[in-house]
């Protein structure tokens, strides 16, 4: 059986054991037919009975092997009882020769695959013992002493080869995946190192272009408090952006996109916008549209609410993305809200299958909730 390299060793071994079991049972059927036609001394009911037991056992184990559960000890014991009974059947039937085909041996293989060499040898020993019984009782179905010895040796060799082979394949798989991961980790470390270096250069440039210039301008305008306040606010945002970049939170995502829009609206309208994200999500087309709609709502709040601060929240979870824009400004009469630019926001969200909730009263501030419902992936 040739396997692609990424195949899991355990499932491959299980399939190999299954193949062996099916061949074994086919072989047994051939032997049974030969026995029934050429051996009038064999009890037909025992011969047929043992064949039926073997076929039922093979069907049951096939089902088990094809499911994704691993072979349990209980499975191996039951499978073993069937195999040993089948191995003993020719003596019971008074046949002149064995007709169990490969069935008992396929159990030895099963044990060696599921457990290890030691248990496989034990299974081989039990199989050999069923034949040794015939040797002592003088059953014609039992092998001759020399055949018994070669049968025992063969069963032992099968257990040894299959058990050690499985062990080897498993170790090799573990070692290979470890090596691959180490290589991958090494590559990542390298990439991180390079990114860090590039980041340091960027930070130095940012400090030079932004902070140093601002401090210079601040000194020149020390007598103009309004100007100084504005510069300080802009500088604070610059620094925050730098810090976030350094902390790696400025990743591309809905939260970052929302923060960019918020910073822009802050600049244009001189209102503080505080963005908090609970969860994050990739910016696909509809999320991009949501962010644009949120910008419109932020602009409305900045222009009409009279509040000094606007709180923006991104709520992203598996089935839902929402942006909530809150202010503690003057609010408005929601029934007459057409003039507040909400109509176009509703249109946008409506096209995306989302919705807009507005909570406001004159004097009570405003909360606008933009919601996208997403199909669960």
């Amino acid at each position: 059986m040739i396997l692609p390299p990424e195949t899991n060793v355990d499932s491959a071994l299980r399939r190999a054991a299954l193949l062996f079991r099916l061949l074994a049972v086919a072989w047994m059927v051939v032997m049974v037919v030969i026995t029934l036609t050429t051996d009038p001394g064999a009890s037909r009911s025992v011969v047929l009975g043992s064949m039926i037991v073997a076929i039922a056992g093979a069907a049951w184990s096939t089902r088990h092997l094809l499911s994704d559960r691993w072979l349990t000890d209980a499975f191996l014991v039951i499978d073993g009882l069937v195999a040993l009974a089948v191995a003993f059947a020719p003596q019971l039937a008074g046949a002149s020769d064995g007709f169990y085909g490969g069935y008992p041996m396929s159990w030895v293989v099963m044990v060696a695959v599921a457990r290890d060499v030691g248990w496989g040898l034990g299974a081989a020993g039990l199989f050999s013992a069923t034949q040794a019984v015939g040797l002592f009782t003088g059953s014609p179905a039992a092998p001759s002493p020399s055949d018994w010895i070669s049968l025992t040796v063969m069963a032992g060799v099968v257990a040894l080869v299959i058990g050690l082979g499985a062990e080897f394949l498993r170790t090799a798989e573990a070692r290979r995946s470890r090596a691959e991961e180490e290589l991958e980790a090494e590559r990542r470390r390298h990439a991180v190192e390079e990114a860090r270096l590039a980041e340091r250069v960027t930070v130095a440039d940012d400090l030079h272009d932004s902070l140093l210039q601002t401090v210079r301008v601040l000194a020149q305008h020390a007598d103009d408090p309004e100007r100084v306040r504005g510069l300080a606010r802009r500088q604070e945002r610059d620094l925050r952006g730098m810090i976030e970049r350094m902390q790696g939170v400025g990743r591309p995502g809905a939260a970052a996109a929302l923060r960019r829009e918020a910073a822009d609206v802050e600049d244009l309208h001189g209102v503080e916008i505080d963005v908090v994200a609970s969860g994050d999500t990739e910016v696909d087309q509809s999320v991009a549209e949501l962010v644009r709609a949120a910008r419109e709502v932020m602009v409305n709040a900045a222009r009409h609410s009279g509040a000094v601060r606007v709180d923006v929240t991104l709520e992203a979870s598996a089935g839902r993305v929402a942006v909530v824009v809150r202010d503690r400004g003057q609010g408005f009469d929601a029934d007459a809200a057409a003039g507040h630019g909400l109509a176009s926001v509703r249109d946008r969200l409506g096209r995306l299958g989302g919705k807009v909730d507005v909570r406001t009263e004159p004097g009570e501030g405003t909360e606008v909730e933009l919601v996208l419902i997403r199909q669960q992936t």
Partner: protein, 257 residues
């Protein structure tokens, strides 16, 4: 009512001055401390109503202060610019009554400090959002280089399963589970299963805080920037009820081990 007595712990003098200015006359700042050892000393000397504690400081940081004073029943409110969730979570677990973000929402800062001094749990929007995330979406992108299969096995370990049970559940042999664990241990720098379990739980695998729907709703509203009184109105309940729920949320986060 007398003014609450506050100690400010921060290694930056400018930050301490800023905090003092924000608090104004409504509280009494009985002492400031700029180092861990200084902080432990003044807190013991003054037994304040509330300590405002910075997370990152030389020589052990906020955690060291917390450890030294927690046994004395001193209330500690974490005030930090750090958004490292593990730091914050460790401090909350060690007994902090809440977490505020440095420099944000300065108009509400004094109110929240006074509320915390009076025994309330106070959460910044960021902290509430993060707790909401923790409840909502367990797991983390910090995988420590584990493969998907290894993560799956770590999750089983976190649930307290044996190798045999894991093998059964994952459809692989015990030997393969052992082989995976052999590569998981060094990646997590874990010496035993217990440490693997801890690593997983810190990342939200296994246990998550058990919150009621109402508590989740409250967290979401705090994250949106609502005050407790506004939350009470929204949910049609009393402010005292909201405060008590917020304390329960804090307890649930602390109960994680």
């Amino acid at each position: 009512m007398s003014r609450p007595r506050i100690v400010i712990v921060d290694d930056h003098a400018i930050a301490r001055a800023g905090t003092r200015a924000l608090l104004g006359e409504r509280v009494e700042v009985v002492a400031e401390a700029g180092t861990v050892s200084e902080a432990i000393e003044v807190i013991r000397d003054t037994s304040p109503d509330l300590v405002l504690l910075d997370v990152r400081m030389p020589a052990g940081g906020g955690a060291a202060v917390m450890e030294a004073v927690a046994a004395h029943g001193v209330r500690v409110l974490v005030v930090s610019a750090s958004s490292r969730k593990s730091d914050v979570r460790d401090l909350v677990r060690a007994g902090a009554v809440g977490y505020l973000t440095k420099g944000a929402r300065e108009d509400e800062f004094a109110d929240q400090v006074i509320a915390a001094a009076a025994g309330q749990a106070v959460f910044s929007r960021e902290f509430a959002a993060w707790l909401g995330e923790l409840v909502d979406q367990p797991g983390s992108d910090d995988r420590a280089g584990l493969t998907a299969r290894e993560l799956e096995i770590v999750a089983h370990v976190a649930e307290g399963r044996t190798n045999k049970e894991i093998a059964h559940a994952a459809g692989i042999s015990v030997k393969t589970v052992e082989a995976h664990l052999a590569s998981i241990f060094p990646k997590l720098e874990a010496a035993n299963r217990r440490e693997v379990m801890n690593w997983a739980r810190e990342r939200g695998m296994g246990e998550q805080p058990e919150l009621t729907d109402r508590q989740r709703e409250i967290l979401a509203l705090i994250a949106r920037g609502l005050r407790n009184v506004e939350i009470a109105t929204r949910l049609g309940t009393t402010t005292a009820e909201v405060e008590s729920e917020v304390r329960s949320i804090l307890e649930a986060v602390r109960a994680l081990d």
